[in-house]
Symmetry: C2
Subunit: 289 residues, 2 copies
Amino acid sequence: MGLSDRIETAISRALAEAGGGPRRLTSALDYAVTPGGARIRPTILLSVARACGDDRPEVSNAAAAALEFIHCASLVHDDLPAFDDADYRRGKPSVHVAFSEPLAVLTGDSLIVLAFETLARAASDTPDRACALTLTLARQTGTPGGICAGQAWESEPRIDLSAYHRAKTGALFVAATRMGAIAAGQEPDPWDELGARIGEAFQVADDLRDAVCSSDELGKPAGQDDLHARPSAVAEFGVTGAVRHLDDILAGAIASIPSCPGEAELAGMVRAYADRIVPQAARRTVPGE
Amino acid sequence: MGLSDRIETAISRALAEAGGGPRRLTSALDYAVTPGGARIRPTILLSVARACGDDRPEVSNAAAAALEFIHCASLVHDDLPAFDDADYRRGKPSVHVAFSEPLAVLTGDSLIVLAFETLARAASDTPDRACALTLTLARQTGTPGGICAGQAWESEPRIDLSAYHRAKTGALFVAATRMGAIAAGQEPDPWDELGARIGEAFQVADDLRDAVCSSDELGKPAGQDDLHARPSAVAEFGVTGAVRHLDDILAGAIASIPSCPGEAELAGMVRAYADRIVPQAARRTVPGE
């Protein structure tokens, strides 16, 4: 089974376990999670698990679903009127628009809970891995270093910009690489750097898209960083410099991959990821490309 | 150390682990959790753990803190403008009033995450208990049968009233008794009925308070069930009937306590709890009391 099928199957199974309650909440959970976006985080998780031998695929599948549930929960809550007040997500009305604001809050809450439930359920015969997975996912989700903290930096009078990006964008990528290793019974620490660098690359790619893509291409207003004078890699290095910076980060990511049976395949995955996340319009501005 | 000290110490330790991030979120977490209310759920949890031998107090303490974090998270989210729009809680401004709506959403989210993190961290040398605790807490928190589902019933066109009360009020009491047993290494299923009946009693007591206490005594508007023609034990049985019904439920709760070393002490705790939750004004209306 390919990674994508493994992810969708694990997600469907976990969602089925959450069914049978109040119908609108059940529908809202399904709506928030499927059809998905690129499933980048669970794909990285399973790629790392595979590179590490993946001796318990039912554990890595559950970890992949759990990580995606946390990501989807964060999107649902971030779209709320109190945060981004975003009416659309993935080409359809956001959860609070399609259902209601109370149901959007409860959908996010339920998805966070379902993530930890999925880990505990799947890992019942390897409880040590389940505990380690729970601890890692919780740290990268909550506070002080997870995505909740990342979002909360926006409510501070003074932002620690590096902590902000590390927590808001980087945390779930670090969760992805660490959880892939843990699910396969390996030590997670050597995998931190790969996750952190992929997260950094993702942030730079996001800055590039905001600068060089049209609003139509993005499906949301473009040029926001420039308009609001936000710090961004493009503001710091220019488009050409930002593309080179991103390439450097990904080269560092590949160099950081710990020695393991699936090392070469994983490096190939990171390279393919790089090609996908850099907007073509940005590559075209770089001399010699 | 008394139960109350054990609970407050466990809560403080877990909160300290969540410190060091964005300061306003850290403050909001602390504000939402301390000073607490009666800490009824963690007290029941530790009482059951003690009745079962409590051979791993660090595990039952962590479970007690985790359960209280989920309860506090639910209060913070329930108070939001999209739900009850409550400006006050426990005699002080609610979290979204004192901080902001974004921080209230993130406080609830972070507390849910911290609950599972606390379980995983404390039970690292008994990972099987940690997994069982995680599974029980998740089921009683999420959907289909947990407090998220309970709240979501209010968004349904037709309410299943028994599922609603069981999920909204009962779920965390069932979590309390089950988690107390699991933390002490015992089978949780025999403890379900005690939790369910205490939850039922709590609901009836709440109905009684709404009917017989003044708004000043409640710290919120009284007489709401009657005003909104809500189904309640008082509407069904009258005040005297509701007090007798509550006494019957608690007698059933005591009778359901599984045979264990601390059975008598636990029965005494439930009796004391009964005296505390029934408003004096309601007892005075019952002939012969």
